[in-house]
């Protein structure tokens, strides 16, 4: 209990200076009878990259999916606790899930482009949310999103070819472009590079670094180097608990928690 209280305080204390975009207080998740998260308290700073690390099965994806209520799509999942976006409770009945997901976008572990053209993939979100009044505006949104995702040069002359025909790394950047196109405030990324080669990974990492200017980013990763390279804040999960959270530099140079120490030096997980 004492330990939990300590973590609780740590979760809030670190980034007092930076404005907070999302807050979670004592978030629990049950899949049926099984508890997957045992009360996570974590603040996510605005326009920063927050990395979630931890051994497999510790609940990183589960936590990430709470932030834009993707857990609603799983019948057995039950979420408790409180999550706020700019002070609004996202699990409040007054909140429109669809609107929330437009504000908190998501990029998945496996690239999942729709079986449509590259153009239509990116235009999908803006069309649904009515972000463009005419074809020209839509074109512009698509082009800007593709540019931001660093994909424009490679695909600008074949926008009407199917998105599924791209390479894995290109597909993942297409999915990022698709998420950017709805101009979300927060982008959640669940192991976005796990299916990519080192070169594509580097491109995506660079991209994340650039996106930080405009978006708040939460990224789940299994690569310590990646967490160290792209994030400013790192949160270590362990068996459904938040083991430790702190500025990335400190986490990797001298972590407080024994579990974090063991994990980043590769002694378990």
């Amino acid at each position: 209990m004492e330990n939990m209280q300590a973590t609780f305080n740590k979760g809030r204390a670190v980034q007092a200076a930076i404005p907070i975009k999302m807050t979670s207080r004592d978030v629990t998740v049950h899949y049926g009878q099984k508890q997957a998260l045992n009360g996570i308290t974590l603040d996510i700073p605005e326009r920063q990259v927050t990395a979630l690390i931890g051994p497999s099965g510790c609940g990183k994806s589960t936590y990430l999916r709470c932030l834009n209520r993707m857990n609603d799509t799983i019948d057995s999942a039950k979420v408790g606790g409180e999550i706020r976006l700019d002070g609004e409770d996202v699990y409040d009945s007054a909140i429109d899930v669809v609107e929330l997901r437009a504000r908190v976008g998501m990029v998945f572990q496996k690239p999942n482009p729709f079986p449509k053209s590259i153009y239509d993939n990116v235009a999908y979100g803006p069309k649904i949310h009515g972000l463009a009044r005419n074809k020209d505006e839509l074109d512009e949104i698509v082009h800007i999103s593709l540019r931001k995702a660093g994909l424009y040069k490679e695909v600008h002359d074949r926008l009407d070819e199917p998105g599924t025909g791209l390479s894995g790394g290109q597909q993942q950047r297409l999915c990022i472009a698709r998420a950017i196109a709805v101009s979300p405030e927060v982008i959640l990324m669940d192991e976005p590079c796990s299916a990519l080669d080192p070169i594509a990974t580097a491109t995506v990492e660079e991209l994340i670094d650039e996106l930080r200017e405009n978006f708040t980013i939460v990224i789940v990763t299994h690569s310590m180097q990646q967490a160290a390279r792209v994030s400013q804040l790192t949160a270590m999960f362990h068996l459904g608990d938040l083991a430790e959270v702190g500025p990335t530099e400190k986490m990797f140079s001298n972590p407080d928690d024994k579990r974090t120490q063991d994990y980043i030096t590769g002694r378990f997980g």
Partner: protein
């Protein structure tokens, strides 16, 4: 020995061979301390294959060719002058000889010995009848020697076959056993046999289909040599019985148009009702229903899909048809004051409606499987962008499932076109040509049944037309299925 006994012996040999092979392979592995290329199980299967496959092929070949060889031999010995004096054809005479010959085999040994070449046919027939073997009365004395010879040939052939097959099985088992060695690629050979068996199975399916087509083709050609194709395909009057009464066919009696129109009309009405309802039910089940309700509703729908169509036919005849008729009476009465029905009890509408009820579970069950097989990641991607459920379904799930759904719908259409029972009971058998869905019409399949169940001779155009109809139906459904394949291919290329 009877064929089942031979099979049993062959299998016993292969089983013994397999067990021995298993033992030998195991000891080889242990003794030489080398790695076997294949596990002992594969060596066992290898020997079993060698024991069964060649011997069974021989058995099959023998069973097919021996009767043919024996029959040509005996037929050649039928005395031609005697045959010419009697009223029998060669085929009939041989039939009698054969039944006498095979009857001999049924007799107990002591009775059989009393039969010689000189035995009059009367005595032989009496003997056979006593044993319950029916014999034609047209037998003649000259047939007895032939029957005796036939019987002898058959007995010899069977003995030789039995011995040959069993010896081959033993030899095959021995051959396979001798080849067992650590480096023997038994696994690859067994794989080859499995492959061959699968190819054989699929070619049997294809060959029988081709056989069916050809059997219909000859009758169809026969029909078109009597009635011109133009008359058949463009005629608008269907009255085959009428032309039978007036001896030589009067023009237009075999008009195919009313049947085609009825088939397409009823099918279209059924599809028009069944497709939206079935598809929406599938979407509900796949995307909205909670697991618990899904686990109740889906099996229920599948049970519905298994109800025999004649039951739906009853439903149409007893409930739906009269209900629609009475309903139309009421409506007509309320609107015009004239209480007469404008929907007949048997009508296109009734048949279409009831056929739709039959098709709904079919459509929804097939589409549900296809929709649920669309990967979850696509749905998540769309929902994660802030799309609603129905937007996700409309813009992502259904387009991805479209090729599958289209082929499911065309499959359903083939069913609608081929349906007979419901049409007979719900739309009647009258071959009308009308656009009014409240009138009775009928379909191709109904008329095929009608033409083949009458008391007609088997080589009159009245009967042969059934084959022409069947052939046309076959071509129509074939085109439908080819078109389905084409659509599926086209979308697959686009999406993958």
């Amino acid at each position: 020995m009877s064929t089942p006994t031979i099979l049993l012996i062959v299998f016993a040999i292969s089983l013994i061979g397999a067990v021995m092979a298993y033992r030998r392979a195991s000891t080889l592995a242990a003794a030489q301390a080398t790695q076997l290329h294949s596990r002992p199980v594969y060596h066992a299967s290898y020997v079993a294959c060698w024991a069964t496959i060649p011997s069974l092929l021989l058995l099959a070949a023998w069973l097919i060719t021996a009767p043919i060889l024996i029959s040509t031999d005996i037929r050649a010995k039928i005395p031609e002058e005697t045959l010419a004096q009697s009223e029998l054809t060669e085929g009939l005479a041989y039939g009698i000889v054969e039944s006498l010959g095979s009857g001999l085999r049924v007799l107990p040994a002591d009775e059989r010995e009393t039969v010689t070449d000189q035995t009059p046919v009367k005595d032989l027939s009496a003997l056979l009848r006593k044993r319950g073997v029916p014999v034609a009365s047209a037998g003649a004395d000259w047939m007895v020697p032939l029957a005796v010879e036939l019987n002898a040939l058959q007995v010899i052939s069977r003995w030789v076959m039995t011995i040959a097959v069993i010896v081959l099985a033993g030899f095959g088992a021995g051959w396979g056993y001798k080849k067992i060695a650590p480096r023997l690629r038994a696994r690859n050979s067994v794989e080859g046999v499995v492959r061959g068996a699968l190819i054989a199975a699929s070619s049997i399916a294809i060959l029988t289909t081709i056989g069916i087509v050809f059997s219909m083709l000859f009758e169809t050609v026969d029909f078109f040599s009597r009635i011109s194709p133009a008359e058949f395909f463009f005629g608008t009057v269907w009255e085959p019985r009428f032309s039978a009464a007036g001896s030589t066919g009067s023009a237009g009696s075999f008009g195919f148009i009313p049947l085609l129109a009825g088939t397409l009309y009823i099918g279209a009405v059924a599809m028009l009702i069944a497709v939206p309802i079935g598809l929406f039910a599938a979407i509900y089940m796949a995307e909205y229903a909670k697991n618990r309700s899904r686990s109740v509703v889906k099996p229920l729908l599948e049970v519905l899909a298994g109800i025999p169509t004649i039951v739906y036919g009853f439903f149409a005849l007893v409930t739906v048809g009269p209900f629609l008729r009475d309903l139309s009476t009421e409506i007509n009465g309320l609107v015009t004051g004239n209480y007469s029905s404008f929907i007949q009890a048997q009508s296109v509408l009734t048949a279409g409606l009831v056929m739709a009820i039959m098709l709904i579970p079919f459509v929804s069950s097939l589409s549900d499987d296809i929709i649920t097989s669309v990967p979850r990641s696509l749905r998540d991607g769309s929902l994660g962008l802030g799309a609603t459920r129905s937007e996700t379904i409309k813009k992502v799930v259904l387009p991805a499932a479209l090729p599958g759904i289209v082929s499911a719908l065309l499959l359903t259409a083939s069913r609608a076109i081929g349906e007979t029972m419901i049409v007979v009971l719900a739309a009647g058998v009258a071959a009308n040509l009308t656009l009014d869905p409240f009138q009775p019409m009928t379909t191709i399949t109904v008329k095929i049944v009608a033409q083949l169940t009458g008391d007609l001779e088997f080589d009159s155009p009245q009967t042969l037309v059934a084959f022409a109809l069947g052939m046309t139906l076959f071509v129509i459904t074939l085109c439908l299925n080819i078109y389905a394949l084409y659509i599926v291919r086209k979308y697959k290329e686009q999406y993958e």
